[in-house]
């Protein structure tokens, strides 16, 4: 479904991504793990068009994304939960969710998806008319996820959804990601929390300073000696 080939991204003189290739198949949870500065967020931004790659191709169901206007990508079925959540703090929870459906025109579909999101995240329903900036970190993460789901994507990119959350909330967030996947949405997950990410992922890639150094199923990588040493604390 999503295929990245020989992707390179440059910031000035620095090559942040040095030619990586990976793919995400329909219905999978695929995770990219790696340390700070490995290039995970840059890869996400290249896919959603926020940064321009210097070489390589990114295709979604065969369509080249690097040639599409970034704002049109959502409408092609790819939504993103950005790093640091980036909810619209000055707008209410409900307005944020409605903005998630900005590219859609089917009023009834939007209303029923809003009800679905409120069912998945009951806390958002309680706080629907509160400003998003007043939510806790965990609630903002849920809002960012709900907002991405409002686009009714076939694939959703999640960038560090567990960042800065308490262990209890991290578990909740990972359960929700599995649920979203079971309901039929493909997930590309970028995480520093390698242990949790590998436990729910079908397949995984290890990103190190702009290169993919390892790949395999989630279970395989969780057992791999090098991964254990570098990312799972021995």
């Amino acid at each position: 479904m999503l295929k990245v080939e020989n992707l390179k991204v440059q910031y000035g003189m620095i090559e942040a991504i040095k030619g990586i290739s990976f793919e995400v198949n329909d219905g999978e949870i695929v995770t990219l793990i790696g340390a700070n500065g490995a290039g995970k967020t840059t890869t996400m931004h290249a896919i959603s068009g926020l940064v321009k790659p210097s070489a390589g191709s990114i295709t979604l169901n065969g369509t080249e994304l690097t040639k599409v206007q970034p704002y049109k990508i959502v409408d092609m079925g790819l939504a993103q939960v950005p790093e640091g959540r980036r909810v619209f703090a000055q707008q209410t929870v409900e307005e944020n969710l409605i903005l998630g459906a900005y590219s859609r025109k089917d009023k009834e579909g939007i209303a029923s998806d809003l009800a679905d999101v409120f069912q998945t995240f009951p806390r958002l329903k309680e706080r629907r008319s509160q400003l998003a900036g007043t939510l806790s970190g965990g609630e903002q993460q849920m809002l960012a996820m709900g907002r991405a789901l409002m686009a009714k994507p076939s694939i959703v990119l999640m960038d560090e959804p567990s960042m800065g959350l308490s262990p209890l909330l991290v578990s909740e967030i990972f359960h929700i990601i599995e649920d979203i996947n079971k309901k039929g949405t493909t997930v590309l997950l970028v995480e520093q929390n390698a242990k949790r990410a590998l436990s729910i992922a079908h397949r995984a890639y290890v990103l190190e300073t702009g290169n993919i150094t390892l790949s395999g199923t989630g279970a395989e990588l969780a057992k791999d000696e090098r991964v254990r040493k570098a990312y799972l604390g021995g």
Binding site: L50, Q69, P70, Y71, K72, P82, V87, F88, Q91, Y102
Partner: protein, 291 residues
């Protein structure tokens, strides 16, 4: 009694400032730039409505509509040609470009219509409304009414419509707005269109009060309205209204009670004091720089 009539006149002048200040504040809120050519869009609006009234003999409302249409197109074209190529450039480059556009419009107007002052026809209802001993001119009433109407329509538009929500989203975080599927360039165009259309309305109200039309007529009201926008908190729509109205009142009261010559100095001094006490302006929000 005298005080109340000064106050009403101040509100009238302040309404014009508020309408112009909206253009500054909306563009700043969304495109994060100071459009110093905004005052000159007022001047173009003044010339267009002048010709519509004098040469084509149009009534005031169609003349205003014509000015709105022309200024809206002008605003969008300026943004596309002058500012859009600089989206990634430093804010200083954009600022200097805006000043360049301002000179271009002023000198263009001088070339086309000479620098001779033209007398704006009085097309607004004359006379005044007398209520219990003191009177307000119809023009002042119309000006205040138009300002209130604009405020109501704009607030509803920004808060209740899809495009309004998208505008607020762009003003907070353009990257996240793109992820929602919002066409940021389109939203910026809409913002320039609205600001410039409002400048055209302001030009008709302004020239009906001070009936002379010349190529640099937009400069002073432009800088005053910019002051009003900063005074109220740049980026904030209610702030632009509040700042505009207060500035008008301060200016008229200063003229009436202190000194006509010093009134502008007093207006700017008040701005300095407000910014010293509250650097973000009256209704401005504190912006934290992202690291």
């Amino acid at each position: 009694m005298e005080f109340i009539s000064y106050l009403v006149n101040g509100l009238g002048l302040g309404s014009v400032y508020a309408i112009i200040a909206l253009g500054y504040t909306m563009v700043y809120g969304i495109a994060k730039m100071l459009n110093f050519a905004h005052g000159d869009v007022i001047m173009i609006g003044a010339y267009i409505s002048f010709f519509a009234l004098m040469n084509f003999g149009l009534p005031i409302i169609p003349a205003t509509l014509l000015a709105i249409i022309c200024c809206t197109i002008l605003g969008v074209v300026i943004e596309k040609l002058a500012y859009k190529p600089l989206r990634q450039a430093s804010s200083l480059a954009v600022l200097i470009t805006a000043i360049g556009v301002s000179y271009f419009l002023q000198n263009g107007a001088q070339l086309l219509w000479t620098s001779a002052t033209k007398v704006y026809p009085s097309a607004m209802p004359s006379g005044s409304l007398t209520l219990g001993g003191f009177s307000i001119s119809w023009l002042t009433l119309i000006t205040i009414g138009v300002c209130l109407l604009i405020m109501a329509v704009l607030t509803t538009f920004i808060n209740k419509t899809k495009t309004g929500r998208a505008m607020r989203a762009c003003s907070e975080d353009k990257g996240a707005a793109i992820l929602m599927g919002i066409n940021v360039n389109f939203i910026i165009s809409v913002t320039f269109a609205i600001g410039s259309g409002l400048a055209a309305i302001a030009s008709v109200l302004l020239c009906s009060t001070y009936p002379s039309v010349f190529p640099t007529l937009g400069a002073m009201p432009g800088i005053k309205a910019f002051t009003a926008a900063v005074f109220g908190g740049i980026g904030s729509i209610p702030g632009a209204f509040l700042g505009g109205l207060l500035l008008g009142i301060i200016e008229i009261l200063a003229k009436a009670y202190i000194s006509t010559q010093l009134s502008d100095a007093i207006v700017f001094a008040v701005l300095i004091v407000v910014l010293l006490i509250k650097p973000t302006g009256l209704l401005g929000r504190k912006l934290s720089e992202k690291v």
